[in-house]
Symmetry: C2
Subunit: 423 residues, 2 copies
């Protein structure tokens, strides 16, 4: 137990907003620095977002991919964790305000608040097409998909049943592919084994992408492979298809309606709304423009990292992926230590270790440097990397066992409908 | 896949309402009988209620103690599972109505709808003192307990902190003891390891029982042992204490206030409200009065079993415990088979295999016939019995591993705060 940090002997105080990949990476480096750290997050857990789609698809339980932030930082005695909502910043005064009315003063501030779902000016679509950013989102998506199957089992009307058994995923990035593949692999086997009145062939999974090809950030060869893999597991891919409206009946592409009662939105993200409260210039996606040391122009002691930041490079802004956030987190933590020693700052350089996306059992694509992988080998690599990066040892074991089980039995372990109807 | 059961060749149709211990036990016996069965439940999962308190206390994940009903009955091709809400019964016509407007005709009806929390005329207490009957209840209790600790970490005011760190469990039955013991064993170790400003000695756990002793249904010797065990792990037991009010400040015992922001209610249950819609005589706890064959007087083809039924014996009505429900479920299923063969009915006889309650790590009490056990041996027996009765093999492994992990590390694996504030 320590005294209230505001009354502790005056050490340099670093406040980190957000305990995602970036915030935690910074905290871990700062645990070794002569500073005291407060990490503020509105939720009590660090979420391993790359596996969130598996919670939405009933393959994993929420606690398998989320760990209490204070459990992760248990051993770091110079770090205090606060579960609180940040309401405003005063960059000039060096403080921020929390929803409970208290103020937190800082010497250094690291804003690592992450991203939120972007409906590009159509917030009303959120009701019918939830995004996938939090445990609550995943549980809601799981509820909708499972309820659709339950209702289809008792639906007498053909049109109603068709709508219930049609699943639409919007967005052809890695998350969209993962979700579409997982729905196909969840719904058809359980329709065959656990339901009595649903013919698995009635189930339709559609993946919609506005651009010319899937996985725009990947090599076109891999986009091709991914499209083939999706076709093999029975996902209909619609590229160059622009969504014009979403309502209770389904998804509209101009005059064409794709009837569906389970629509999932993975078509875009923007910076967390907190970025706008900093009072500094933002880009079109609401991200904070930062210098080459990840600091805000004019505020050398304020950093923005990860999905909340726009870090320009000759080939465009860095992508919103976890390696960028983690590398930036470690970088700014080291810069703070250098500042304290009186050493000069160094610019941030992103080291791209590659990208991967999985498309169901035994299928994935990956690019590492000049290497292009697809199929079983890419899938094994995906498994290994995701288990390796899971932050908690216990969860690593538990996820591994769940995957073995599902792989052997084709069954999903967390098919719970909980919570109440939201629309 | 099968055709709509209403159009199938005319086999005797048994409808079971509720897929708890009683309903599932009946369904499994009827799977071997020349009947078709429809089992209706408003949720999609069978819940292993004896371990629900471990979900509330962040030791297990919901999916570890809940399995989809249709997965349990996957192999039984004469059984159809419907997730639906029953709204009314017409016993004379032999049918029931569902919330979606459809009607289900039956030749035999088994009502196994279970129990709900009973606030004895004070429904307003539910807001401040949730009961523990569903996964949603357990997640809400988990949220409240974990949020109280988080708020205590940042509370500046001494009175507020005292209220936040005081946990009150109302009801001295097995569930109350299990919860009180589990809170003490959850909160103090994580306060010491994961929090910076909470002294574990500030945490207070109070168990309130209106009667003279804990575990009224057990041998008084075991009530004594249980009280001692609770004292050892730091639970304050208040017997003969009648709750007069519950509000946002805490629990009132006459003029005495026990300040608390985490109050849990395990002081009583009554039959599910569906019982009242049968239009037959009920007892004071809202349970259906049944004959010695578990059938409703005047309706030999309608049975009520488990917590929803009042089955009188010379020593009073049978208790609301899972062995009663399971034995009654199997009994009425066999009676239906006897009816179809033209054999005479036999009365139901309950075989009491004993009772047990656990009070944290290595402590429990059990009575089996004339045997009275307490301490480590009773605890090991409790572990074994609960693992044995977990319906799903995969969950048996997963719960076993989680218990090993918690036992070795003193850590809880599912400390997630999810959902939104409800009060």
């Amino acid at each position: 137990m320590e005294a209230d940090p505001n009354s502790a002997p005056r050490a340099v105080h670093v406040v980190i907003v957000g305990a995602g990949f970036g915030g935690l990476a910074a905290a871990r480096v700062l645990a070794e620095a002569p500073v005291r750290v407060t990490i503020v997050d509105r939720s009590n857990h660090h979420l391993f977002q790359p596996l969130l789609y598996q919670v939405a698809m009933a393959a994993l339980s929420p606690a398998e991919i989320a760990v209490p932030i204070r459990a992760v930082l248990r051993e770091e005695r110079n770090i205090t964790v606060l579960m609180a909502e940040v309401t405003s910043f005063d960059l000039a005064a060096g403080s921020l305000a929390l929803a409970d009315g208290t103020t937190l003063a800082w010497d250094y501030l690291i804003v690592a608040a992450g991203a939120e779902t972007n409906y590009y000016g159509h917030p009303e679509w959120a009701l019918h097409a939830p995004g996938l950013k939090s445990i609550e989102d995943a549980i809601e998506i799981r509820r909708r998909v499972l309820v659709a199957l339950e209702r289809a089992e008792s639906a007498a009307d053909e049109t109603v049943r068709r709508q219930l058994l049609s699943f639409v995923v919007i967005g052809g990035g890695p998350t969209g592919l993962e979700l579409a593949g997982a729905i196909a692999e969840l719904a058809r086997p359980i329709a065959a084994s656990d339901f009595r009145r649903i013919d698995p062939s009635w189930i339709r999974v559609v993946l919609i992408e506005a651009g010319e090809r899937l996985l725009a950030a990947f090599d076109p060869v891999l986009s091709e492979k991914a499209a083939l893999s999706l076709a093999e597991i029975g996902v209909t891919v619609r590229t160059g298809a622009r969504v014009t409206d979403i309502d209770a009946r389904g998804v509209w592409l101009g005059d064409e309606l794709i009837p569906s009662s389970s629509i999932l939105w993975t078509a875009g993200v923007r910076a967390n709304g907190l970025a706008a409260r900093l009072g500094v210039p933002l880009d079109r996606a609401g991200r904070v423009l930062v210098g080459d040391d990840c600091a805000l122009p004019g505020y050398p002691r304020v950093f923005a990292i990860g999905d909340v930041a726009c870090f320009e490079t000759p080939s465009g802004p860095l992508p919103g992926v976890s390696p960028v956030a983690m590398q930036q987190g470690r970088h700014v933590a080291r810069l703070i230590a250098r500042d304290l020693r009186g050493d000069a700052r160094e610019p941030f350089h992103y080291v791209d270790k590659g990208s991967m996306a999985t498309i169901g059992r035994t299928r994935a694509v990956a690019q590492v440097g000049r290497l292009r992988l697809s199929g079983l080998l890419a899938w094994l690599m995906w498994l290994f990397v995701h288990l390796w990066y899971l932050i908690d040892r216990r969860n690593r074991i538990s996820v591994f066992l769940d995957w073995c089980w599902s792989y052997l039995t084709f069954r999903h372990g967390a098919r719970l409908i909980t919570g109440r109807e939201k629309r």
